[in-house]
């Protein structure tokens, strides 16, 4: 049994609601949410990096850093949200 991880014992049935109303065991909902977090992370922080590039005039350096950073943050947010609550 999993003794390190989940602090609440939730059933395997999809459709059961958790505390915040999102169905945390419906894989479709979670999959699309993770895609959405990744895309938002890339767009938001890639956009910030792109604006920084235009201000400083440094080609595409900060854009790429922003994209990769936003990607990592999106993964982090998705992981934190869907594997702990």
């Amino acid at each position: 049994m999993d003794s390190r991880g989940s602090t609440e014992e939730t059933a395997i049935v999809p459709g059961q609601m958790s505390q915040d109303g999102q169905d945390h065991h419906d894989p479709q909902n979670i999959a699309w949410s993770i895609v959405s977090y990744l895309l938002s992370g890339i767009l938001v922080w890639g956009g910030v990096g792109w604006l920084l590039d235009r201000w400083i005039g440094s080609g595409a350096v900060f854009t790429v850093i922003g994209i990769l950073g936003g990607c990592g943050l999106g993964i982090y947010l998705g992981y934190m949200r869907f594997t702990r609550l």
Partner: protein, 75 residues
């Protein structure tokens, strides 16, 4: 030397198509093995699910970076 064959048009979309092959296979492997693991030991569902989601997020990230890169570099 004469041109024998040529691909014209948007090469960004060709790039994205090529970039999506890897994550497609990767996500398939992640979820396939995850489902197998759940079938072998259903009481470990939570643990397997968490790791499955982590693997999916990493593989999907590569596909989305491939989607965005053509816009960064123009065409």
């Amino acid at each position: 030397m004469s041109v024998l064959a040529q691909v014209t048009g948007s090469i960004g979309s060709v790039g994205y198509g090529l970039a999506a092959i890897g994550p497609g296979i990767g996500i398939g492997i992640v979820f396939g093995l995850g489902v197998q693991a759940i079938a072998r030991q259903p009481e470990a569902y939570n643990l397997i699910f968490r790791n499955m989601i982590l693997g999916f997020a990493f593989a999907e990230a590569l596909a989305l970076i491939g989607l965005v890169m053509p816009f960064v570099y123009g065409t």
